[in-house]
């Protein structure tokens, strides 16, 4: 398969899956796209939004359309790591047998992940990064593709355990799930309360997902674009050469190197969706907020000024773009 066919197939697969999901999910186009990009980039997705916005349905539909295993973990404060990873149980034959936890699926919905204790949350770390689980000294690989889609409720913060930075960094993107518009809401109500219930049909296989990942890695990126991406990442740091004024003022910590990798990966997916073989600065800009918004830690001054990470990123982008001038000025 040549490059043109590869990119075409990537777009087609992406589009088919999206269309299937959109049969079930009304609106939320950006959320659907981000989840699919997360899957294509071999990353994990953190969704932040109010309950009842269709997050579970989204992952379920995604699993259906791709014929992938799906599991859902509802995190609670009393949940133990073994509830996630699985545990050895004594069988009738008086032998220990490992009983797999819900993490052993292709698509895992970690619902309200911030309600679990840090101990349980950390159990997710190895699974998300190493794509394996170690129980009783035995390492067990997870199935590919593997995608964790975690959700957080931004409102009910009492009795929650905010995700540690190390864990947040492991999410490829953080997507803000907006409340649907009135029209979308009407459609949601109509679909869910009527006689005909839509269901996503399988339109692709797991091999297609793996093929998409392979295609994505071949997308070209020029030094110019890469420098632009790195300037944005470095620009989020409060110290250092490439630091921006807004970061110096409002950021406690900037994005990690993993943030730069994620930014380029997501931008590559956008490039393929745009039928291009190369990443553009627009792709980087488009990916910026979803990739970096959860990787920046703001300081007290930002909170006092009511600054959000998205606002800080907007200003970082403006600052980097101001320096990124046309090399030929005539």
């Amino acid at each position: 398969m040549d490059a043109t066919q590869q990119t075409k197939k990537f777009s087609e697969t992406f589009q088919k899956v999206r269309t299937e999901i959109q049969k079930v999910i009304v609106g939320q186009d950006d959320v659907v796209e981000s989840v699919l990009i997360g899957l294509a980039c071999n990353g994990h997705v953190l969704l932040e939004g109010m309950p009842g916005l269709g997050k579970t349905l989204l992952v379920k539909s995604l699993a259906q359309s791709l014929r992938l295993d799906f599991s859902r973990i509802q995190f609670t404060p009393d949940m133990m790591p073994a509830d996630v990873t699985g545990t050895n149980v004594l069988t009738d034959s008086r032998a220990f047998e490992f009983r797999r936890g819900p993490i052993f699926a292709n698509l895992v919905l970690a619902d309200e992940i911030n309600r679990a204790t840090p101990k349980t949350q950390s159990a997710m770390l190895e699974a998300m990064q190493e794509r394996s689980v170690t129980v009783g000294g035995k390492r067990m690989p997870l199935a590919e593709p593997f995608l964790v889609m975690a959700t957080q409720n931004p409102v009910e913060q009492e009795g929650t355990y905010p995700l540690p930075e190390a864990q947040l960094d492991r999410f490829l993107v953080k997507v803000l799930v907006p409340f649907p518009t009135k029209d979308e809401l009407r459609e949601v109500v109509r679909r869910t309360t009527g006689n005909e219930l839509q269901e996503a049909l399988p339109v692709a296989e797991k091999e297609d997902v793996l093929e998409m990942r392979k295609t994505l890695r071949q997308v070209q990126i020029s030094d110019e674009v890469l420098n632009f991406a790195l300037s944005l990442v470095v620009g989020t740091h409060p110290t250092g050469d490439g630091s921006t004024d807004v970061a110096r003022k409002y950021a406690r910590y900037g994005a990690s190197p993993r943030g730069a990798q994620s930014l380029v990966s997501v931008a590559k997916a956008h490039a393929l969706l745009g039928d291009r073989f190369n990443v553009s600065k627009e792709d980087i800009k488009r990916s910026l907020k979803s990739v970096l918004r959860h990787r920046i830690l703001l300081n007290f001054e930002a909170e006092a000024d009511g600054m959000t990470t998205d606002q800080v990123l907007d200003q970082v982008l403006a600052s980097v773009e101001a320096k990124d001038r046309d090399p030929i000025r005539v």
């Binding site: 490059a3 190369n278 553009s280 030929i328």
Partner: protein, 557 residues
């Protein structure tokens, strides 16, 4: 077509646009410099002309344009710029970096970029713009023009200043007339000498300054006088050179005559003997014969006396005193005899020369009958008369037309006679003398023509030759003098030794028809300063320095 080749047209366009921008930046910078100059010109600190200012701006623009055009345009930079301007989503920049051998996506990416680039026109991406540099160039140039025009407009001048300016301009025209008629007259041959060119340049500078009318009348007069002095010096030197060259020509002519005698087998001849009439020669021969006879008679008498003395000395009866007396007499007679012998030999030689002089004269007469010789002699005489007149401060006797004809004649002779060494030297000296005569005449004319330059005094003489002092300083129209000239006699001590030496001081109005427009109090400091400067440079003899100081001190009181 390869991407690199496709980029060529964009590169050309970028160069053009950079040239345009460089042109504007260069013009802006140059206009800034010109603006400073224009301001200085307004303040009369550094004179400038519209041409000078325009030239600066034009040169700045050209240099800026060339620098801009020659700036390198790297392909990667160009690619990135095209990506931005054409919205190619970094296709071109990526394609220019990609290595097809390494990556499966590189080649299709390159093809994609190439396809997108194909439909783009360079002039759409890099259009001609009238941006900030161009605006700055136009604004600054306009500012320069405005400052220059305001600084030179007569609208802001008082009626007196306008009048002074008008007079200055009239003087400029007069200086130009003197220059054109004396130094750059196309009818005047040969061409300008180095001295004349230098003088013409100085006059042109003065003309420009007078035309601009930004200096004071005193300064104008000073400059005109300097040029006049320079012209006088050049004239004097050129005339001296002409005199020397005429002397050289005379020597060459003598050599030609000697060569002619030698050719005829005759000895060198004193000039007097070749210029006798037959009658004079006959008389001379008679006189010579008579002289020889006299000498011979004297010689015979002398020998007779010597023989007698010799005979007497043989006698033993002579006393010592008598003998000594005779010996002395004999020695004196011997010496006399020798002198007579040499005189006789000279007379005999003269006799021979007189005999041959007729032949030599015939040779010279033959030479003199040669029309070429006659012509040359006339030219030499004219040149000599001209040089003599100039040396005496009189009007040159040669007109420009005569000089031109002489030049042609001498050059024609030189071409004909180039094989004769003596003639060649003669003609060369004559041509040089002629050139110097021209320079001397022209410079003198300039000196006399330009000296009266200053507003209110003198005026143009209608004569091209201004050497006649009676015609100098005459206005075309008579002007009644407004001031009075009076004479005062002042007695003072001119020498430090205390010798009293009366002198007469003429006090006259500064200008004919006009009183000085500058108050005494205003000029005194500058003169005082000049005097102090002269004292510091020790231009004034030590014994006079005290007097100078006292003089200026008394003026200030």
């Amino acid at each position: 077509m390869d991407i690199q080749q496709q980029l060529k047209r964009f590169e050309r366009r970028v160069r053009l646009m950079r040239g345009w921008k460089g042109f504007a930046i260069g013009a802006s910078l140059a206009a800034a410099v010109a603006l400073i100059w224009a301001v200085l010109d307004w303040a009369n600190l550094a004179p400038a002309s519209a041409f000078d200012l325009g030239l600066i701006v034009a040169l700045g623009a050209i240099v800026g344009g060339v620098i801009g055009f020659l700036q390198p345009v790297p392909a990667k930079t160009l690619g990135d710029s095209i990506d931005r301007r054409a919205g190619l989503d970094n296709r071109l920049g990526t394609a220019l970096e990609g290595n097809p051998a390494d990556d499966a996506f590189a080649e299709p990416q390159r093809a994609d970029a190439q396809a997108k680039l194909g439909g783009i026109r360079a002039k759409d991406l890099f259009p001609f713009r009238f941006g900030r540099p161009q605006f700055a160039a136009v604004t600054l140039s306009a500012l320069v023009a405005a400052v220059f025009l305001l600084g030179n407009t007569p609208l802001l001048l008082s009626p007196e200043q306008k009048q002074a300016r008008k007079e200055m301009k009239a003087e400029s025209a007069r200086v130009e007339k003197v220059r054109r008629e004396n130094l750059e007259n196309p009818k005047d041959a040969p061409g300008m000498s180095e001295e004349e060119k230098r003088l013409a340049d100085e006059m042109r500078r003065l003309e420009r300054e007078l035309e601009r009318a930004k200096m004071s009348p005193e300064e104008a007069m000073q400059k005109a006088n300097n040029i006049a002095n320079e012209a006088d010096k050049l004239s004097l030197k050129a005339n001296e050179d002409a005199q020397k060259q005429l002397a050289t020509a005379s020597e060459a002519m003598e050599q030609m005559k000697a060569d002619a005698l030698k050719q005829a087998g005759l000895p060198p001849m004193p000039s007097g003997m070749t210029e006798m009439s037959p009658e004079q020669r006959k008389n001379a021969q008679k006189e010579n014969q008579k002289r020889q006879n006299d000498l011979k008679a004297q010689m015979a008498a002398l020998e007779k006396r010597l023989a007698e003395i010799k005979e007497r000395l043989k006698s033993d009866k002579l006393s010592k005193a008598e003998r000594d007396q005779l010996e002395k007499e004999r020695a004196a007679l011997e010496a006399q005899k020798k002198a007579l012998e040499s005189e006789l030999a000279a007379a005999k030689k003269d006799e021979l020369t007189l005999k041959l002089s007729a032949e030599a004269q015939a040779v010279f007469e033959k030479m003199a009958k040669n029309p070429l010789y006659q012509e040359l002699m006339k030219l030499q005489a004219k040149l000599q008369a001209n040089a003599d007149a100039m040396a005496n401060g009189q009007k040159p006797t040669l007109t420009a037309e005569e000089r031109r004809k002489m030049q042609e004649a001498l050059e024609a002779f030189a071409r004909e006679m180039k094989d004769q060494k003596a003639m060649e030297a003669y003609l060369k000296a004559m041509i040089e003398a002629l050139k110097n005569a021209k320079t001397a005449g022209n410079c003198k004319s300039v000196g006399l023509g330009i000296r009266p330059t200053m507003p209110g005094i003198g005026g143009p003489s209608n004569d091209i030759w201004a050497g006649d002092n009676k015609k100098i300083n005459k206005l075309d129209k008579g002007v009644e003098g407004g001031g009075k000239t009076f004479t005062t006699q002042v007695t003072g001590s001119k020498r430090p030794t205390g010798e009293s030496d009366p002198y007469i001081e003429f006090k006259a109005p500064t200008m004919v028809g006009n009183r000085s427009s500058i108050p005494y109090s205003k000029v005194l400091p500058s003169y005082k300063k000049r005097a102090e400067s002269a004292l510091n440079r020790q231009e004034i003899p030590k014994e006079y320095q005290g007097h100078v100081k006292e003089y200026f001190k008394s003026l200030g009181q």
